[in-house]
Subunit: 437 residues, 2 copies
Amino acid sequence: MNAVRIGLLGLGTVGGGTLELLARNGDEIARRAGRPIRVTHASVRDAGRPRGPQAANVQLLADPFELVHHPQIDIVAELIGGIEPARALVLAAINAGKHVVTANKALIAHHGNEIFEAARRAGVAVGFEAAVAGGIPIIKTLREGLAGNRIQGLAGIINGTSNYILTQMRDAGLDFATALADAQRLGYAEADPSFDIDGVDAAHKLSILAAIAFGMPLCFDQVHVEGIRGLSAMDVDYAGQLGYRLKLLGIARRTERGVQLRVHPTLLPQRHLLAQVDGVINAVLVDSDALGQSLYYGAGAGAGPTASAVVADLIDIARALTIDPEHRVPYLAFHHDRLQALPILPIDAVETAFYLRLTALDRPGVLADVTRILADQHISIEAILQKEPPPGESHVAVILLTHTVRERAVREAIARIEALPSIDGRVVSLRLDHLEH
Amino acid sequence: MNAVRIGLLGLGTVGGGTLELLARNGDEIARRAGRPIRVTHASVRDAGRPRGPQAANVQLLADPFELVHHPQIDIVAELIGGIEPARALVLAAINAGKHVVTANKALIAHHGNEIFEAARRAGVAVGFEAAVAGGIPIIKTLREGLAGNRIQGLAGIINGTSNYILTQMRDAGLDFATALADAQRLGYAEADPSFDIDGVDAAHKLSILAAIAFGMPLCFDQVHVEGIRGLSAMDVDYAGQLGYRLKLLGIARRTERGVQLRVHPTLLPQRHLLAQVDGVINAVLVDSDALGQSLYYGAGAGAGPTASAVVADLIDIARALTIDPEHRVPYLAFHHDRLQALPILPIDAVETAFYLRLTALDRPGVLADVTRILADQHISIEAILQKEPPPGESHVAVILLTHTVRERAVREAIARIEALPSIDGRVVSLRLDHLEH
């Protein structure tokens, strides 16, 4: 059969990795897809830059819009990232009748609804497996593998940079700034790390996973987002003493009152499988009614893992080139006219357990005041850890673990605790989850 | 769109679970598949037996051959298990132009090549996700999610019964017979547990995974199979003292000299993710060139998890009903005329590390004799654990961990060690793997 012809938008880390993977495993890929898959064109910013040997048979174009309209390309792979011009290029490719594969989570999270609608009208496929959790086929799993299940929720370590930093803070006892600098030196964090450490990247991915899991339109704007910036080494340490590890989790969960969508640092029991996921690795835990809990674990970033997902999408499209569009696997797992705009629960109404750290004057009665405030808010305490003050120090750290409670109650309790004259500064609060639902 | 009409062969645990799941999640399934999926017929051995409310709208047939030929059925789900009459029914359904879904690992492992060939001629789809690792979509992952990768190997806990028994032996300190009786009492092991505890069930599944991973025909007969029957509580304990856990693994691995295909109890480092997989849970670790190591974890058996996989296959077929057969995902991931009969390495030529336990007279020189024999076979020792003999006992247990070595060398060394006059009885040998490839 004729080769499927790919045009790559971008020949950077992911584009180069995709080109290399298609060349290296070309024979096995053709045996799987039933036909060769070949990169025929690529758009690059600097056509004069020297490229690897794989690029010798690829026609380089300086104008990406020329590529998306090129009559000899079947599938356009958008691997430049960012919103614009990626969005304009993807829409132009779709309108030119090309199938599209993208690794761009920001684009899908912000403009997926628009892109899928355009693709539906044009009758083309859009693959975005690489947008979430790198090479782990989590989108395929949710969309196809678990398609018989009602998915109740999922929780994932879906930002490798943050997970690397948290792992270093725990294992090497580093403070946040040092661990971040380490990650930057090793290429695990970018020069401007905001998207990763402030939870935005994880929120992009979570909004995609939630839409697919629950059959609702993408709603990135409604994700509650907190990152790990400025997380204290002290809290990582105390969490460990209490039997917990800190992970940046993306959590989506159905409740009777609405869908929870949140990204924040979370204390997890040390023995939980997700707590074992260290370094730049990603993992997603899915709760579904027929299967129960299942876990998907692997490399969440990098040239190879991302190319793995891009090429899987290319093979899917090549295998299904003759299918009529109405029968393709729907972009968001559910057919477009059967999506439901489920209500999203505001964070105030979410119920979790909490880790609270307060700095108190080391004198009698303080703990009585604090526990009285918690009792007033119907917050019950699971554990208290009080550290001896260092010699000559008049303040002591008190750590409290609460049982599950509605967030609003904790916020009100914290405000009252901070107003106590015996309490110094802010109360540090972190959510705690056993992920047993 | 019209409903897809399903005929169930069998309404036992899996058949009943499938019927129940399709009814319970009927609305979400129709939103995903683009059309309702309905069980219209089922064949049962005893049509007079009372059934649940879901069966009220299902026409029960006493003759399964009437079902597979029924003109008003689109997909036949074979959920009776065993080789015959399952094989004859599946072939009859295929020849009658029905798509087929099956949960039958023995059938696919033994007769998959024949069944796929018949299906190819008839232009119908055959789904068998439920045949391996219950509800974990591992077949889809290997066949589609990792389709861009060259898969180097995989290792899996793919028999829940054995894993439950091993977990109980370790956690509760039970001996094998007691743990097996427990598993039988709880319904985790059958009255005749041979297939599970002798590794046959795991070998069925491993042969299916290996064919899909490497693009070769099914070759169950060439899997090296050892089960956990009669495993000693002492060895579980010593393994723990040395930092290892015993798991029944199915391992498939490419080497330059051929493919390794083996099922046997294996010592794994305690901190390895697979070592954390306890009870009836299954997990598969995959090594592939672009993604690296990835892990898939979940319930490997039971009505719900198996029905999850059966229904996923039904939805896949419903989604792809209009695709032309040549473009379907190939049964064994690679197109039928592009499979390669790779050489399978005999177990003698496989290289692993070993755990050896010998019972020796407690006197000087014994260890010198043993280590001399090992040195003669170029077997280097990683660790030695010698237990004090109990009071009044003249024999002592000596445990040796070797570095990686070719199996034949270990077998020869063991024969020579057993011939030493200072050694009592047989040498217990278990393979040890760090799964770091």
